[in-house]
């Protein structure tokens, strides 16, 4: 099936393109829109973006491949990013990451079989004054302890649990 932005995404697309005197400048914001709409940046999604911005596909791929936040592959529904840089390291980040690996049964870079969680060690999140820190889908959780991480995982699982009937994605 050919990819297409939803009506809401299309409105955002128009708004983003209008911010710049140059089409390519809209590329990163539009790649974000595509990431959000299609789950990640598959080759088809990048082709779609190239067409919409009237840019050569190679240019889109060049840009997309440079940036880690533009996802070239699927992540879990809850993408957990634990800071492993100095300030967090000094406040126990390594132990926190190992705890999460054990608790979720995955290593950094992997997704749990149920698709709920993925895990990654990341660089400084600018939360060093309240270390160790992590993000779940780019939302901050700071001053973390193993207990706080356990509560967080339980809460996310509960959030994802089907309420009565079938689980629905998103």
């Amino acid at each position: 099936m050919a990819l297409e932005f939803s009506a809401e995404r299309e409105r955002e697309f128009q708004e983003v393109v209008a911010r710049y005197p140059d089409r390519q400048a809209a590329l990163i914001p539009v790649l974000y829109l595509a990431d959000r709409e299609f789950g990640f940046l598959s080759p088809e999604a990048m082709e779609y973006v190239a067409r919409r911005l009237d840019l050569p596909l190679t240019r889109v791929v060049n840009t997309a491949s440079f940036y880690t936040m533009l996802r070239k592959r699927q992540t879990g529904r809850f993408h957990i990013q634990v800071c492993v840089n100095v300030a967090c390291h000094l406040r126990g980040a390594d132990g926190l990451l190992r705890h999460l690996e054990r608790r979720l049964g995955i290593s950094p870079g992997e997704i749990t079989p149920d698709g709920l969680f993925s895990l990654e060690g990341v660089q400084c999140l600018a939360a060093c004054g309240n270390a160790p820190a992590l993000q779940v889908n780019y939302e901050y959780h700071e001053g973390m302890t193993e207990e706080a991480v356990d509560r967080l995982i339980d809460r996310l699982r509960a959030e994802a649990a089907p309420k009565g009937g079938e689980a629905t994605r998103e």
Binding site: D22, L27, P29, N62, V86, A87, Q123, C124, C128
Partner: protein, 429 residues
């Protein structure tokens, strides 16, 4: 309104404590908001530039270049549009001050932007915000919409005819985009690879047009300089290095966080008085004074004032004034390993000395920490680091090399102990 229920007024730059925020434009107005903007709009733009120059605002992104001097590099009006670009990419490890303005107190930042745009006659401003700051991006976008509704943006600014638009542009997880020319490449939709300089952005910047790039905190300082006047602002700091400053404190201290003081408080004031000293009152082993790229100092430096010139004289750099402290029970090789990994990961790869050199540094430090170091590794580290410095397009190469040189020199015995014992004496695995 999510203003945390409190109306804080802690200082000039830090108006909110942890958990507090000023997100209501009217609240900012009642706290003296937009007075500085009105003063600036009543002045000719070149006079505003002069005021900023006299205030001695040194850029708060890390390099400390005087803002007014940079603005003075703009070429005479030649018909090309001018751009103001705000560096809100905050990525230097152990630095967490700009996120405060973006998430908790966006209006002083935005007011500084309006003043600066008027001063340099830029009609378009892009705020390049680190992609991970999703909440901050939403906060800024809402604050900008509020400014527009209140008549501070659009075809007039606070009643003065001056067309001005401010846009938020998201980064996407590449530290190198904090370097100003990489930032411009990224803003143009390309991979963030730094440009050769010259030409400098003030003459050839965004889309080939004259562009001024300044840090978030620099903008907040511009507002204060206009609010209090250049002399008063300058008098709050050190000669030629004016104003109050946001200091960060992290690592093994009792009260980490952000603090405000005049430019030039000593490391002792920050770490021992404000920060309450080290965890367990252990002896300090190392102090990284301004982000991981700044050379590591030791306890004998506690009385060095944190300003650009004093830190340089002490053999380090003020950087982002974000001190990270570690104590005698911490392995310095392990700390350096996190730093070396970071710069190796973030090298954009276009200069061979940086691309290859940062990889070697990481591998050698990793081997030492894991008990696989060989005699002579300290020399190998120093020579690999020296091969990078001064031989690259941008300063990331230096940022990767300086910590290695300073760690090996300061903690030489710890490195040699690792190599001799074939393991980390601090018990790291």
């Amino acid at each position: 309104m999510s203003d945390g229920g409190k109306t804080p007024s802690r200082g000039h730059l830090l108006r909110c404590g942890p958990g507090e925020a000023i997100l209501d434009l009217r609240l900012h107005e009642t706290m003296g908001g937009f007075q500085a903007l009105r003063k600036a709009l009543a002045m000719d733009p070149p006079r505003v530039v002069e005021e900023v120059r006299k205030a001695g605002i040194r850029g708060r992104g890390g390099a400390g270049f005087p803002a007014g001097v940079k603005w003075g590099f703009l070429p005479k009006d030649d018909g090309r549009p001018r751009y103001l670009v705000i560096n809100a990419d905050e990525g230097e490890p152990c630095t967490f001050k700009d996120r405060y303005f973006i998430e908790q107190d966006p209006f002083p930042l935005l007011e500084g932007i309006l003043i600066s745009a008027w001063a340099i006659q830029a009609h378009r401003v892009y705020i390049y915000v680190r992609g991970e700051f999703q909440k901050g991006i939403r906060t800024l976008e809402k604050a900008i919409a509020d400014l527009r509704r209140a008549g501070y943006l659009g075809r007039t600014v606070a009643g003065r005819p001056f067309a001005l638009d401010v846009f938020v542009h998201p980064g996407a997880g590449a530290y190198i985009c904090g370097e100003e020319s990489a930032l411009l490449e990224s803003l143009e939709g390309k991979a963030g690879r730094p440009r050769n300089k010259p030409p400098f952005p003030a003459s050839v910047g965004l889309w080939g047009c004259p562009t001024i790039i300044n840090n978030v905190e620099t903008m907040a300082c511009v507002r204060l300089a206009l609010l209090h006047g250049a002399e008063a602002f300058l008098a709050m700091g050190r000669p030629g290095d004016g104003g109050p400053k946001v200091y960060g404190l992290s690592g093994q201290v009792k009260r980490p966080g952000l603090y405000e003081g005049p430019m030039g408080v000593t490391l002792r004031t920050l770490i021992m008085d404000w920060g309450g000293g080290t965890l367990g009152d252990r002896p300090i082993k190392g102090i990284i004074p301004g982000g991981t790229s700044t050379p590591v100092l030791g306890p004998e430096h506690l009385d060095v004032p944190m300003d650009f010139d004093s830190m340089k004289a002490a053999g380090s750099m003020l950087g982002t004034a974000a001190a990270t402290v570690f104590t005698d029970d911490t392995c310095p090789v392990g700390v350096l390993l996190r730093i070396a990994r970071f710069y190796a990961h973030e090298s954009c790869g276009q200069c061979t000395p940086c691309r290859d050199g940062t990889g070697w540094l990481e591998r050698i430090v990793e081997a030492i920490e894991h008990g696989e170091g060989r005699p002579g590794d300290c020399e190998r580290l120093l020579s690999a680091a020296r091969m990078i410095t001064g031989n690259t397009i941008c300063a990331l190469g230096d940022a990767a090399a300086f910590p290695v040189i300073s760690f090996v020199n300061r903690f030489r015995q710890d490195f040699e102990d690792h190599i001799a014992a074939h393991r980390c004496p601090f018990g790291a695995v």
